[in-house]
């Protein structure tokens, strides 16, 4: 046994005796350059809408208003009734999810209604994302949910109603690598 191995062995023994078998690695020295952000600034910029409704703004929208907005902003790509054009089919599922050519529409596939608000507010219409008011996003969500047979034509959609809506495929997903 050479001197180096003896040194290692004695170091290990010391560590064992002092109850500190693995010395902590040195913390990475980093500057702390993050600037604090004020809460009201944050709230104004936050777009995430969670399944429990967290992140939904106040406002409301009707199915009828949503129909008008859909015809103007969305039908060009999604088709006039939302059954798909050059873009996704959003309504009108006929083949079930266990069919080899299943229709994955909002009504048949999407697990959460809040996703509609999250996605439309941030990403639609494609030519001018982020330009719709909260009322308009509620209205479009209302029409899409109605067109999928999930709410009645006279529903006035708001944060509480959207978060409370249980989608048919809520339990259709297997979490593979989620914590």
């Amino acid at each position: 046994m050479d001197w180096f191995r003896i040194l290692i062995k004695s170091a290990a023994l010391t560590a064992l005796l002092t109850g500190c078998a693995t010395p902590l690695p040195p913390l990475i020295e980093a500057p702390k350059l993050g600037m604090p952000v004020a809460a009201d600034t944050l709230t104004a910029q936050m777009l995430n809408v969670f399944p429990d409704g967290r992140g939904l703004p106040s406002g409301q929208g009707s199915v009828a208003e949503g129909a008008r907005l859909f015809a103007r902003h969305c039908a060009g790509c999604h088709g006039k009734d939302g059954r798909g054009g050059t873009a996704e089919e959003l309504t009108g599922a006929s083949r079930p999810l266990d069919h080899s050519a299943a229709d994955k529409t909002i009504g048949s596939y999407w697990p959460y209604a809040t996703t509609l608000f999250d996605f439309i507010r941030r990403a639609k219409p494609m030519g001018a994302p982020g330009t719709l008011s909260a009322d308009e996003v509620y209205a479009l969500s209302a029409w899409l949910l109605h067109a999928n047979g999930l709410i009645t034509a006279d529903t006035m959609l708001d944060a509480a109603r959207l978060a409370a809506l249980r989608m048919p495929n809520r339990d259709g997903f297997l979490w593979i690598e989620a914590p």
């Binding site: 050059t86 996605f119 994302p129 297997l174 989620a178």
Partner: protein, 424 residues
Amino acid sequence: MTRRTNSSPDTAPVDAGGGALDRRRFLKRGAALAGATTVTGPRAAQTGGDLPWLHVPGQPFSAYGQPSQHERYTARRIGANRAVAGNGVSFTPLEDLEGTITPNGLHFERHHNGVPQIDPARHRLIVHGRVRQPLSFDMKSLLRYPMRSQLLFIECGGNSNAGWHTEPIQRPAGSVHGLVSCAEWTGVPLSILLDEAGVDPEASWVIAEGADAGAMNMSIPLGKMLDDCLIGLYQNGERLRPENGYPMRLIVPGWEGVLHVKWLQRLEVADRPVMSRNETSKYTELLPSGKARQFTFTMGCKSLITSPSHGQTLRQPDVYQISGLAWSGHGRIARVEVSADNGRHWTDAALQSPALPHCFTRFRLPWRWDGKPAVLKSRATDEAGNVQPERAALIAERGRAGYFHYHAIVAWAIEDDGLVSHTY
């Protein structure tokens, strides 16, 4: 065909299954074959005549170098949405490249609504949500933080999705499988910034958001973020290209491309996933049962022969270099086997070292084509023991409606005229 006609039976390359050569025997015999070529005399070489560039001064210096004009066809192939030009993909031409690094101008793209032209002076990264102190970082600040460099592949979850089709798609290898690229990414370990903001011990997810037109958002487990994710600032030594997230993107080693959020502007620490459109209605895989796999992050163990591959032609029976790429989101590539007889016999290919985790590994194997129909396949195994599945096995497990995460063995058929096409 000097080599073949002058090779006596005991010095000829030995087939180890359908013409794939035993690598060690081939290397041993290489010297003898080269000698035989010299002795009998090669065909007369063409010199090209008196070359004009020997007699006139060349071009001046260039501020940013470009590929040779003779290589201008080595280009990304674009598959954009006709209605919305910024929605679609461009493929890396894998069959035109060698080694493991994808040049920055050829890195694949997937955009949901175009490439934003971001002024870095006006861009901020905000870390908020379940943190002690919400923080905003500007570019100048981030560039002062400790950085790490890693060679990593990024693969779109939808790469190779034509493999689910009933008929083999007839397109060049890169135009089917080229939504994967490999680069050296340098940036700030995310754990440093999260530590500075002070993460709530109850938190378990981080929702990343881009600054594109659509503010694309994806949920990523906090554990992965703290483990090995980076705020990517440099790509192959230079600052990110706009189409790859300039001025910053998330780097999530080994996980599907959509999580590597480009133009990163916000990280919300949370106790649950946000259930965004791209983690519910997209990037989930419908199974035959009607249930769908969700949060399938790790890219599977995969390989692909890039040469010979679809659209290429073997001019005559001779020795050819099989060359390809292997990668796995689970870690390092441990082994790549090649078959020239549709999977009946397999031979180990040589792996170009170093084989790094979550990185392309180049494999090569010399192969003597005898002029008869053959089917070439490659099969990767990673250090965790994952073996790339045959297509039939993957479909038996997943059905054909999953669309994402196709990583089955790819087969190239060689006809007796030397033409290479895709086959199942």
